[in-house]
Amino acid sequence: MDFNFTLQQEKFREELREFLTAEVPVEKQEIFGLLTEEQYQFGREINLKLAERKWLAVGWPEEHGGGGKGPIEQGILAEDMGYWRVPKSGSIGLGIVGPAIMVFGTQDQKDQYLPAIAKGEVEYCQGFSEPNVGSDLGSLELRAERDGDEYVLNGSKMFTSYAYHANYMYLLARTDPQAQKHRGISLFIADLKTSGISLTPLPYINGEMAAQTIFDNVRLPLSCLIGEENRGWYHAMTTLDYERSGLWRYANVRRVFDDFVEFCNGSSPDGGQPLAEHPLVRHQLAQRRLGMETWKLLCWNVAWMQSSGAVPNSEASVAFLYGSEERLRFAEMAMEVLGPYATLRNGSPMAPLLGNIEGIHREAMHLHGAGTTEIHRNIIAQRGLGMPR
């Protein structure tokens, strides 16, 4: 057992923190539940600067524009970026699309897509869910029909985060409706400028603008297919297990938790005794401190497994499930402790912590991304514990 980073990893973390301290002043840091266009663009700029130092894709091989390090360094980056509350961008390309192309892509696809991701120049969105398809993703309906040198796509994708900033969509489509459901799906990358793709705005409760993405006779060249036709389900599921540490999400919440503890130690929104002097509050803070530590370790366990060459599967679900529920426990606890002040949004002069608690409570309703909590429990039980289906 070793819970330390190597000296080189420590040095990387120090350099990264110097960079973040200099480049990300507090007033530029993201506030939960309030993602402005300006903040998103600021996040993109930071990514470009990280890429100049080969830090953005620090865990990728150098041949694809990465830093040539590993999952631990990628985890350090995620944890610190999350803690500094740098508005998030580029994560789907870096975490999901890039690794998939490295494994299943042709050389041409690697050359075309990977360096641009590593440089922070492109944004991806993900096209998995559909209006009628969520947890049972294998039943997806968006059709891709082969027509000569092209695939023709018809249907729609739902809950497209980053749609309005993305250049490409990484998507699953049905290529063989006759086959057993998981065996008739293929993986594509679609340029969102392609004619026939349109977006319908879908505002989220966390302040983010997502979309429903409509495909109306969208023609994609064959070179947009990633991996083998009709093997897309298996390709996608394999690569979903790559970037699953969840350290960014953990650190994002941890920062607000730490701020909240400091707030409770020194003050009370109504000017009375510091909140932390109340025994019930102290107790709740300690419980969440324990929860945060557990969450952190479960995330690092995933990163460590990756660094040792293992492919985390149920372990990633353990970390993700724990994180979704711990974030909600913290949000509920902080809302309760702040009483009516917790209902004040960012912008209200009396809102504690710039409204971050109210914002994180809305963010915590995100109990479904990358699988609902129920789906993660199914994965842990069936794949992790080998329980019967």
Partner: protein, 365 residues
């Protein structure tokens, strides 16, 4: 960063599991419980022969000199098998006090015996234990509750309240349980766990009784308690892991409504939640062990591990009795052995609330 076990630790885990599966079946656990001693002498002798009682004690006294991580691996297996006997009390908690506070003579007199299993140490604590100087020597008076394995102990370490001005520090003294003025009464605990009320009625102490300096024992006591707390967490973890395996196995073949109950999500999700808690407990426990091995105080880490262990215990008990259902309500079924010991471990060395309080104090609040 490396959360895996070394090859040697894997071997230790494997051989400990194999040994205990063969030598410590639940029939033996039940015998030890029914005897009222909470001890299995033949097993104790074999365990000592394997060197387990000296796993983290120095080689110069006959120990293995292993790390706290080794000890954690071992105690996971000890918990898993519900191993009876004062392993934690004597070979970890009390032995560490002697090792940290004692002088060379005291260590030489006691530690080799702890390792061979012939010496059994226990610890008596409490506000009502007082040492006082009289006729040039020390005497001990007062009583202490919840003293584990006092009935088997060859020596009792008493953490006593020294002269009033030195409070809240403590004077650690070695007491012969057979000395005149020492009486003990079994406290009648869950699963016959041997806890005693020990009364000391003006017990004169020999000159070499004090471990370390008078009124300077707190530091040694704290450090030993921290190490023992990690072992207690490991024991809890091993037991919870075993309960998880038992319920998953049972749910795989117990049929209801025409299908194995393990196919029902209500059952699967209970198991998944226990798995999450087991994984969390493992990370927290090994982190605490590792930090102590690095010579760090690890106050927060130990408290977090122990607070979580209490919650893990409760979850395992609930999952076990809920999935095994009716049959686990019978004395004949083994689940009750796990849930009874879970409660003892939870209360031992500070429960969840106690450790959350400590944690809160560290958070500046």
């Amino acid at each position: 960063m490396d959360f895996g076990l070394t090859e040697q630790e894997e071997i230790l885990r494997h051989s400990a599991r194999e040994f205990l599966e063969a030598e410590c079946p639940t029939s033996l656990v039940r015998q030890a419980e029914e005897s009222g001693e909470g001890h299995a002498r033949e097993l104790w002798r074999k365990i000592a022969g394997l060197g387990w009682l000296g796993i983290s004690l120095p080689e110069q006294f006959g120990g293995t000199g292993g790390s706290l991580t080794d000890q954690t691996v071992l105690f996971e297996e000890i918990g898993r098998a519900l191993t009876p006997g004062p392993l934690l009390t004597s070979s970890v908690l009390a032995a560490q006090i002697v090792l940290i506070a004692g002088n060379d003579d005291q260590k030489t007199a006691l530690i080799p015996g702890v390792i061979s299993g012939e010496v059994i140490l226990t610890l008596a604590r409490g506000d009502r234990l007082e040492t006082a100087s009289r006729d040039g020597g020390l005497t001990l008076s007062g009583d202490s509750l919840f003293v584990p394995y006092a009935g088997l102990a060859t020596n009792i370490i008493c953490a006593t309240r020294p002269a009033i001005r030195a409070w809240p520090d403590t004077t650690l003294v070695l007491v012969d349980p057979k000395a005149a003025g020492v009486t003990m009464t079994s406290m009648e605990s869950i699963a016959n766990y041997p806890q005693f009320l020990v009364d000391f009625d003006d017990v004169p102490l020999p000159d070499d009784s004090v471990l370390g300096q008078t009124a300077e024992g707190m530091q040694a006591l704290d450090l030993a308690v921290r190490r023992a707390t990690v072992a207690q967490c490991a024991e809890t973890l091993g037991r919870a892991q075993k309960v998880l395996e038992m319920v998953v196995e049972y749910a795989g073949h117990r049929v209801a409504f025409g299908r194995p109950i393990g196919t029902f999500q209500a059952v699967q999700h209970r198991c998944a939640d226990l798995r999450v808690a087991v994984d969390g407990g493992r990370m927290l426990t090994y982190q605490a062990a590792w930090k102590l091995d690095q010579g760090l105080t690890a106050d927060d880490e130990v408290s977090m591990a122990k607070a979580q262990a209490g919650m893990l215990s409760r979850l395992a008990t609930e999952a076990g009795h809920s999935i095994f259902a009716g049959i686990s309500f019978t004395v004949e079924h083994d689940m009750q052995l796990y849930s009874a010991r879970a409660k003892i471990s939870e209360a031992n060395l500070g429960d969840t609330e106690y450790h959350l309080d400590r944690l809160a104090a560290q958070m500046g609040s």
